[in-house]
Amino acid sequence: MSATTTWPGDWLRGVLEMAVLRVLANEPASYGYAISVALERHGLGAVKGGTLYPLLARLEQAAYVQTRWEAGDGGPGRKYYTITDSGRSHLSSTSAAWCEFAQTTASFLREDAPGIPAASRPTAAPSR
């Protein structure tokens, strides 16, 4: 998939929290726009500020991230987010569960998946 792919919003909502924590787990600290760019670069599509910041506020409230403001050097001041130990632990557990769920779903959705009941196939019209 290309970095410009637009995924259905419902799918993104399910994984955005983990994806944001993953971005923060890979960086010492990051800020809103940089997180949005990182998500897009990794193929999750463009995440609007209106979607991202309510989630960041939720993560801050849950103590999964710590924040600090830094004055901008010739640009705007920025609020930097750093993942906490609690955030890393949450990311680890939810990521593992998500991967298992995604694997199960992918396996189920394959056309040649074994174990799909034959009743789901279309049946021939009864002869008169």
């Binding site: 800020y31 809103g32 726009y33 940089a34 949005s36 609007k48 500020g49 209106g50 910041y53 309510p54 506020a57 939720r58 801050e60 409230q61 403001w69 004055a71 901008g72 640009g75 705007p76 001041g77 920025r78 609020k79």
Partner: protein, 231 residues
Amino acid sequence: MLDPTKTTLPKKWAFEFMLALRSRDVTGTAIGDALRQAEAFCADSGQSPEEAFGPAGAYADSLTDLPTVTGGQTLTTRLAPSALGLFGLLLALPTFDAWRAGRAVEFPLGGLIALVVVLMAVAVLVLQPRIYRRRGSLLVLLSFAFLAATAAQAFLRQPIGSLPVLPCALAAAGALIGSGLWQMRVLDPDLIVDPLAPAPRPSRAFHLLTCWLMPIGTVLVLGIAMLAPVR
């Protein structure tokens, strides 16, 4: 303090955003934080706030995890001492007139109706804070309350009861002093704080003036009333 007129965001969007958060009792610190973040995102991305965040009110509503003021500092409790002070002011005026004329304090029907209208308008503002975000509705409400109260006082002057001056004066003074003392206990300006600037420290004199605004205003109004002929 964060000056709402000094944001790089469009003023209309920024004002609606702050008003929407304030009407939900979000703290001034959190409002300043959210506003500066929106500014930074728009500056970094080159997007307008409508593109990045959508309508200001809807975006403010989506920020459900921002801290709100504690129970003692909600919009309702902030308005209550002012309402008590307003009651004192409204009672002090006819009491003062009656004392000068050497008669009992009369309560005209129009005054009672005006009081009920004002209380109903205040109740709507307190119970439905979202009305601050609908300018048309707010304008209609305030216009209706003002016109109804003014018309009632102008046309319904027949007295429906009277009381001696002393208990009325004591009640008015009690309400005014009580409102000032209540304000001293609960008033927290909860300014919208710029996260990149030092915390604002409102002066003691400004704080005292705000707390005792109603009693001071009443004294001034009574001073002006002294100039009017005795009725």
